[in-house]
Symmetry: C2
Subunit: 355 residues, 2 copies
DNA sequence: CTGTTAGCGCTTTCAT
DNA sequence: ATGAAAGCGCTAACAG
């Protein structure tokens, strides 16, 4: 294992000064073709890996990064994404990054538009986007592209956009997995209840739909004959939920298990608990505080996690490495899908070890 | 958000020079009581967080770290642990660490003793231990303790030792989880086959036993009435395995599912495949290459992963931070237990994003 | 266009 | 016992 190669080593090999090598590495211009080729030759031979921490030490450049996601509620999904972003910033503490967080109301497209307009006023170096409204976001990304500002998606991605990268879980596969799990633990002839969130307006949540598609795909691929019953759920008028649930379950019913494709299933589990509905397996997504509580209490059987901290952290790290070194970026990045149960949820805390 | 506090800031507040602050921070001695208390006062007030990357830049001290584990086979469990350790070393590239890897034959206590004797000759700054033989390891750790050399366990820990820390999964809980999973997918009145590895000598694998205990605990807690049938498995005489398996399954049998508590289950799955035994759910541990293959092919239904890369990486990071800053260390560290299925195994590749 | 120099935060060395 | 100064690898500012 040889000594690490430094800029000084390269400059000596190429017969130029360290300053010139630096200029070449960072495309700062003011370099003769001769010098460029000489250094290029050396770079081909040696495996130079710049040390970003030390770069940061002398890098005067300040970067402005905008983060835009739905509003952050404590203990919920988006908070984890933001934690991950913070974690990356701590790891790259030597790079001077100003983080501007702009959140919008995910149930209100006007709020989103307003926030996006504000973002477009900012002369940002990069943007991390957690999207909800496709049309609005498309307008944003088009504008960013015109300005040459790179952007990265977290949580989900979108057609017709050209992000620098995206970090999401495979929502379709998530639904597919949920179908496999629920069908493996309920009787073959029972029905499956699907909880769906009532939304105002025509924007249906992208990720839930993808999961639903994956779910359906599994059922038809495996020729499963379970009937599906929809269970409405309202965030706006929570008092209705109990009524709906009662209606469905206090009659004769054949529901063997329930799945939910959005992250609010813990609340449905509460609703079941209140109405004395036990022994119905529930499978859901996201490790929000209410969901985890329901998992621990035994109301939810499986939760699928999509590593939000990891998504946020990877997005920010990727953006930083791109901004500082123009490091080539892999566009499609699918994070792991975690299956959590009551038995192992206690060990599910990432990033709590050292920092 | 205020500017980060530096040593220079502290020295100015305490009315001493940066050199003195450094001496205090690192317990290098040659400091008057007056200076120590003055700086101590300031440190209490401000939240100084040293920057280990920059420290490394000027740190002349070289550290020698010994890694000792069972021999590493490609695609197997211990390789992942070593990958994780490498990953941590890359992240802390500025710290000069010489890594001495000493592996032993995990089926041969004499090999282990020999390796440990060699290790004791080394004047190491720290040791990372993946243990197999308890008695031998106890002798090693006693000696290390006498010499004041800190050591960290990965994969499993041991009573009567005083490691700086250990990073393992909760094996008991792992077995408990496996019991929950298998019983939720097999008929109530069917038997469960348990594959066990035949070992030479009286050393039974610690981790497998713990898993077995957890498994049994679940069955009795939940009053499960499944009968358990043992299926021997030999690494030494693989030709016997087919015979045993045939014997068990070609008679009338009532085995609804099989679990294995060691990492070699993929081979048993192969054995099943060769003998035309399908449709028997198998649950196992560890994401070795053969296991993953069997999972993808549908021969294994669930694999439990214990984040070996993470274990290795955390162990090394912890050791480094302790060596450089005497950072206080949390002793007991349980990593996550991952439940993997065919559907999501493709997304299970850690550390593949940026490095 | 290019080499030299100073300086980032930290540790180490060298005077004092 | 302590402050001042040099230097780690890198980038930025300056002088040519």
């Amino acid at each position: 294992m040889q000594r690490k190669i430094r800029i000084k080593d390269i400059s000596e090999m190429a017969g130029v000064s360290p300053g010139t090598v630096d200029r070449i590495l960072h495309n700062r211009g003011n370099v003769s073709e001769t010098a460029r080729t000489a250094v290029g030759e050396v770079l081909k031979k040696v495996n130079y890996k710049p040390n970003i921490h030390i770069s940061g030490l002398s890098l005067k450049r300040k970067y402005k990064v905008v983060i835009t996601t739905p509003s952050v509620t404590e203990g919920e999904y988006w908070e984890s994404i933001h934690f991950g972003i913070q974690h990356a910033l701590e790891e790259y503490e030597n790079i001077r990054i100003k983080c501007l967080v702009h959140t919008y109301n995910e149930f209100d497209v006007y709020s989103c538009r307003e926030v996006y307009d504000r973002i477009l006023q900012i002369d940002a170096d990069g943007v991390i986007i957690g999207l909800t409204f496709k049309e609005e976001t498309l307008r944003l990304t088009r504008n960013l592209e015109e300005k040459g500002i790179p952007y990265i998606f977290v949580d989900s991605t979108m057609e017709n956009a050209s992000p620098l990268a995206f970090f999401t879980s495979d929502h379709y596969r998530c639904g597919y997995l949920m179908a496999r799990l629920i069908t493996s633990i309920i009787p073959q002839d029972s029905d499956i209840g699907i909880s769906y969130a009532i939304r105002i307006g025509d924007e249906s949540a992208n990720t839930s739909t993808l999961r639903q598609n994956g779910f359906n795909a599994y059922l038809s691929e495996k020729k499963k004959t379970h009937k599906v019953q929809l269970i409405p759920y309202s965030t706006m008028e929570p008092e209705k939920n109990d009524v709906w649930v009662k209606e469905l379950f206090h009659h004769q019913h054949n529901i063997g298990g329930v799945v939910f494709f959005n992250s609010r299933g813990g609340l449905l589990a509460d609703c079941f608990a209140r109405n004395g509905i036990n022994n119905i397996p529930i499978i859901g997504v996201d490790l929000t505080v209410p969901n985890i509580k329901a998992l621990k209490n035994g109301y939810i059987d499986f939760l699928i996690g999509q590593e939000p901290e990891h998504q946020g952290s990877l997005a920010m790290k990727t953006l930083i490495e791109y901004l500082v070194y123009r490091r080539p970026v892999k566009v499609q990045n699918y994070v792991q899908l975690d299956i959590l149960t009551k038995e192992i949820i206690d060990y599910y805390n990432q990033f709590n070890y050292l920092s």
